[in-house]
């Protein structure tokens, strides 16, 4: 069994969509008990939007399942006063409270940090707003694609002289969770040492700016605004995606020094280029970039991307097929271990992604995402001592609902 550093930690999780739920998924994977608070009045949209098997089922959305494995789901309507009371009773039994609403939402419910501290003095409250709680644009709304756009990733991606490109992944939704979980784990460590809780704010906008490489510091230090550079690099050449045999098949090749350049030329049968003076240095290869790219493409066009990547890696050159999800699921050996095939109670099987880590060689355990409200009865009974009648009554009154 892998270590469970967060075993014994209970997280009351008001997050929805992607960035928030993935934050608490990371905590759940590491052993925390995460109670996902849901309500018919506010169903997590990601339960509804995403890939589904045929025929679709309310509980089998692939995206939702990846974002919410290892959690429990409880129903709680925060739109009624009794719901807020129950929320506070659950806070008293929890270590961490998480949310990712617009800044003042938890305060308006009476569930802000200042409201919760008297309930549980060492509580850790974490909020992942888009813009942050302070600042003139704190009320701005955006989801992943907007956060990525504000943070500069679109503007600096694409080809020179063309429009900024959209990214195929809404990056901030997959990077903010790590920074959020990192801060929460550090806060738990701090609480264990000192007995102090804290309020954590992770502004997704600021977090996503850190995905840039040196572009922003180039501007603040040197006043330069780097232009879109297509697939080229200032540090490596050749560097790019080259078309291979087949439909939309590409190989990514990245050459770090002259020895690797010579190895690349050998594998591709470009011996003249390997010997040509002037290409020993990065500057020389960058100056000859267009010619080198054309020569490489002419060779790769008839080659199999997988076979070529293997030959190049064997020769010490960084290379990989530009894999699509079909490759990752059906061809790449990475599926073994990383993608867990589970039998879902809905009568289908599906894949779930593990954490990209192994601990002492083992994967962290994984269990399917909870059904809507699946754990209401057990959680309210175990944590708040409610009996079945009481729970049924509150359900009928629209509180546990």
């Amino acid at each position: 069994m892998t270590p469970q550093p967060l075993a014994g930690i209970r997280v009351l999780d008001f997050c929805w969509m992607i960035a928030g739920p993935l934050t608490t998924r990371l905590l759940a994977d590491l052993g925390a008990e995460v109670l996902k608070v849901e309500s018919m009045a506010r169903v997590d949209r990601i339960r509804e939007v995403g890939v589904q098997p045929s025929p679709p089922h309310a509980e089998t959305n692939g995206v939702f399942n990846d974002c919410n494995v290892n959690k429990k789901s409880i129903m709680l309507n925060l739109g009624v006063p009794r719901g807020i009371e129950l929320a506070k009773a659950l806070v008293a039994k929890s270590d961490v409270v998480t949310s990712n609403f617009t800044p003042d939402r938890m305060d308006r419910w009476g569930l802000g940090y200042e409201h919760l501290k008297p309930v549980k003095p060492d509580i850790i409250v974490a909020s992942l707003p888009v813009m942050g709680l302070k600042g003139s644009k704190s009320s701005w709304r955006a989801v992943g694609n907007g956060v990525v756009a504000m943070a500069g990733l679109n503007a600096h991606t694409g080809f020179p002289g063309r429009e900024p490109f959209g990214l195929g992944t809404l990056l901030s939704d997959f990077t903010s969770p790590y920074l959020g979980a990192l801060q929460i784990a550090a806060a738990i460590h701090h609480r264990n040492r000192t007995g102090e809780g804290q309020f954590i704010e992770l502004a997704q906008y600021e977090a996503t700016i850190h995905l840039l490489d040196t572009e922003l510091i180039e501007y603040t230090v040197n006043g330069d605004t780097p232009q879109r550079a297509g697939n080229s690099s200032r540090n490596y050449a050749p560097h790019g995606a080259y078309a291979c045999a087949g439909d939309d098949r590409w190989i990514a090749i990245s050459v770090r020094d002259h020895a690797e350049f010579v190895a690349l030329c050998r594998v591709l049968g470009l011996d003249d280029l390997a010997k040509r003076p002037g290409l020993e240095t990065l500057e020389g290869r960058i100056a000859a970039r267009n010619e080198l790219d054309a020569a490489i493409s002419a060779r790769t066009a008839s080659m199999d991307d997988w076979a070529l990547a293997k030959a190049l890696q064997a020769a010490g050159v960084c290379a990989s097929p530009v894999e699509n999800v079909g490759d990752l699921v059906n061809r790449d050996p990475m599926r073994e271990g990383f993608l867990e095939e589970i039998d879902h109670p809905a009568g289908i099987s599906m894949l779930l992604q593990h954490e990209p880590i192994t601990w002492n060689g083992d994967r962290l355990p994984i269990s399917r995402a909870p059904f809507l409200g699946e754990h209401s009865a057990s959680v309210y009974s175990e944590l708040l001592g409610m009996d079945d009648d009481e729970i049924a009554e509150l359900a009928a009154e629209g509180v546990i609902s």
Partner: protein, 391 residues
């Protein structure tokens, strides 16, 4: 201010792919000691540089990713250097290993040998692909993890995005692993060894737009979407020739349709069948057309102010000059000036995104090459100098 990792010793033997991991740990208060070759390493020697002039203290990647760390200069290829590295490892809570392990560190960082020699020290090790000796740069890792295939226009080659995103993703996973290993050790359990896989870390970023179940359930392999994402075009041009990101979140479509009616006297989009999510999805081209017409009718500032007022998800597509000029970030003290002694210069940099009621991340200078060699051996090993520590 109390930083949560104050007093935690992290030995940074990492290379570029994991440089951001130890930078994050330093931002949380850890004492991060970076071991560097006396001649300086790749992060110091790669451009761009301060004022465009190369130099081991002038690399902007070094200034960015090594901020807040201390630097010890050791030659890990020499027996003396290896012995010194071993002494530092003994004192560390966690060691961050490099993706490309230099020959001189191979025996030390070999998993079994490390576990036997240092049972109380956590080891975080990046790999490119699991069970493989292949290595990678950021480009080949984003290609291997399924992310690069999704970027750009369908008519173009897959596009390499800005930002060293594979390095970032593996660093994020590594930093979280490091903190939880510290927690294991604090609980009196051996922290063990965590292997972080770049290819898997990159695939994690495709959970939404190219979920593995698209392929598993036999439906399709999502491709490139040009000016948008899987949910349609999101990037539009405004009247002053600037770009915005505008995503029609379903609850915000009606406010948009009403605004469109006000602007252009056409109110058909405020009614059925346009109130139906699926109908709009099927008529995406028309939605793009009316969105572009709206965006093209006013300047960017006005558009965003009006759209945000209507609860729409509309923000600027910013380049770094826009970000640096953003008053919101200035009000949040995101940009800070740090003095870099070795350059005798003060530079404007930016802090980490960590703001809590207990501490606030502050921008920090990077270390001069080897500046802390004596100091670290004295503090960590109780030795007067690395030479004495070796005895």
């Amino acid at each position: 201010m109390t930083f949560p990792l104050s007093g935690v010793k992290v030995l940074d033997l990492g290379d570029e792919p994991v440089a951001f991991a130890s930078r994050l740990l330093a931002g949380l208060g850890a004492d991060v000691v970076r071991v560097e070759h006396p001649g300086g390493d790749w992060l110091r020697s790669r451009g761009p540089f301060v004022n465009g002039e190369p130099g081991l203290e002038r690399g902007l990647a070094h200034i960015l990713y090594n901020a807040g760390k201390r630097s010890v200069a050791l030659d890990c290829e020499s027996p003396a250097g290896q012995s010194q590295v071993r002494q530092l490892i003994e004192q560390a809570a966690v060691v961050i290993a490099p993706l490309d392990v230099p020959a001189g560190l191979r025996d030390i960082l070999e998993a079994g040998a490390f576990a036997a020699a240092y049972p109380n020290v956590g080891l975080v090790q990046p790999v490119f692909r699991r069970n493989s000796a292949d290595t990678a740069t950021d480009l080949t890792a984003v290609a291997a993890g399924g992310q690069m295939y999704l970027n750009g226009d369908p008519a173009d080659p897959p596009n390499y995005a800005a930002g060293n995103l594979a390095y970032k993703q593996v660093s994020l996973a590594a930093s979280l692993a490091a903190v939880t290993m510290v927690m294991e050790a604090a609980a009196g359990r051996p922290p063990g060894r965590v292997e972080v896989c770049m290819q898997e870390a990159v695939m994690w970023t495709t959970i939404q737009t190219a979920n593995e179940n698209y392929a598993y359930w036999g439906q399709r392999s999502p491709g490139r979407h040009g000016l948008g994402s899987v949910s349609g075009q999101t990037i539009f041009l405004t009247a002053d020739n600037k770009y915005v990101s505008l995503y029609h979140h379903p609850p915000a479509f009606l406010p948009f349709a009403r605004w469109y009616a006000e602007l252009f006297g056409d109110d058909q989009y405020t009614r059925a069948p346009w109130d139906d999510d699926l109908y709009r999805m099927k008529h995406g081209a028309e939605i793009v057309e009316i969105t572009q017409r709206t965006c093209g009718s006013m300047d960017r500032l006005t558009l965003i102010a009006e759209a945000q007022k209507r609860s729409m998800l509309c923000v600027p597509v910013q380049d770094v000059s826009d970000i640096a000029a953003d008053q919101h970030l200035r009000e949040r003290d995101f940009f800070q000036r740090v003095r870099i002694e070795q350059l005798d210069q003060e530079l404007e940099v930016f802090r980490l995104p960590f703001t809590t009621s207990a501490y606030e991340a502050a921008a920090a200078p990077p270390p001069a090459l080897g500046a802390h060699t004596e100091e670290v051996f004295r503090e960590w090993c109780g030795a007067a100098s690395p030479v004495e520590a070796r005895r």
